[in-house]
Subunit: 229 residues, 2 copies
DNA sequence: ACCTGAACACCGTTCAAGT
DNA sequence: ACCTGAACACCGTTCAAGT
């Protein structure tokens, strides 16, 4: 009696399976090779089947950014990455180094994240942890806020306008901050402080001021190196 | 007698005209709208005509990166941007701010530059000027080299592995440095020093070390702010 | 020399039809 | 509910043909 014929039915598709396959494909052949048809081929289905799990290609790329930033956040939050660290700088430093190793595995990530208009929500746990570390280390919320901006390119590979809200309605912003409170208490507090400080201005973050702050940080650090050489 | 019919012949195409139109189109509608056919439409010619001036779409994007980085370099080198500056930090700071205003006009630029594997040659005059300013300000070449890396994201919008040569042949690298000498004396010297320091290692730049250097610069700067608050 | 029409292989996406 | 075949409009690119 012959062995039962190998069953041709695959594991059913799902958003997670589609996104995982997209990451594998982008890693292997770059974002250029990531087409709906090609991705479907890797999953042994037709291109049209993907549309049951992602709205369109743009949503696929959004999901991809979400996954890769989630991976970065996970690596940064791994307790092993920061075990034995004493001061806040050491913890933050090791987290940035962990982020870098993930980015190294996905060289297409910075370009992808930069092309999205908003950072994916999977950054929030990472920012929350960083702000917590800094605040517990004796930094105030305004300084922690600036630090997140300054470290943006070390964490995600490029400088970004963060938290730039689609809403310029102050009350809506306040409510958004409240929504964060249960799970992201430090971020919620940081946002509250920022909303208060930015009263009357256009955005919650003054990107020009953030840019100049980071710039001075770097230049002053270089000057210190020059003097002590 | 009727007025002469309006002559339908346009200014002949050229690489410069193609690239200029590409910048205008990307500014107006984003990189996504930049297709060969659409670009041709803007230039009132057929898509195939573009292939006489750029090899293919990839070459078009290379050219676009070249143009926009050239624009950044020009803005940074404008004497008006740095008039009246006293110390090297002030000069470098103002140049970075000038770069930012250009980037603001072309929000697609960082993503585009990041996607290219090499920075376009139009960065060299900018780097040359920055190194010159720093060296004249009392910085050594190794520090100036690190500064270029640290300031990468302030100048071009993202962190980049710079000068990563396709060749890992030390002699070829030395020769490349010599080629720079007539027009870019400081960069040539910087490259020579880097080649010497990197003797036996894989690349001319230790990107891990550069990353950690920038990271420490930022963290130490933040710590200084924390202490004096 | 410079431009173009027709053609090819490949995109993303819609829709009506299958199970 | 989940998947798909056929179809549409659009993409980059080649090539032989025009001027």
């Amino acid at each position: 009696m012959p062995a039962p014929a190998p069953r041709a039915d695959r594991e059913p598709l799902s958003r997670a399976r589609v996104l995982d396959a997209a990451v594998v494909l982008a890693d292997a052949e770059g974002l250029g090779a990531l087409t709906m048809r090609r991705l479907a081929g890797e999953l042994r289905c037709e291109a049209m089947s993907l549309y049951h799990h992602v709205a369109d290609k743009n949503a696929l790329l959004d999901g991809l950014a979400e996954v890769v930033v989630g991976e970065i956040a996970e690596a940064c939050l791994d307790p092993g990455a920061t075990a034995g660290s004493l001061d806040w700088r050491d913890v933050v430093r090791r987290r940035c180094l962990a982020a870098r190793t993930v980015m190294h595995r996905h060289p297409w990530a910075p370009g992808l994240i930069a092309a999205r208009s908003q950072p994916p929500p999977t950054v929030y746990p990472l920012f929350e942890a960083l702000v917590a570390t800094m605040v517990e280390g004796g930094c105030g919320y305004p300084l922690a806020h600036r630090a997140i901006h300054s470290l943006g390119s070390m964490l995600l590979g490029f400088t970004q306008e963060l938290f730039e809200p689609a809403v310029d309605d102050e009350q809506a912003r306040d409510e958004a901050a409240q929504d964060l409170a249960p799970t992201m208490p430090h971020l919620a507090h940081l946002a509250e402080v920022a909303v208060h400080e930015a009263r009357g201005s256009l955005g919650i973050c003054d990107t020009q001021a953030e840019f100049e702050f980071t710039l001075r940080l770097i230049l002053d650090g270089l000057e210190a190196h020059r003097i002590t050489r």
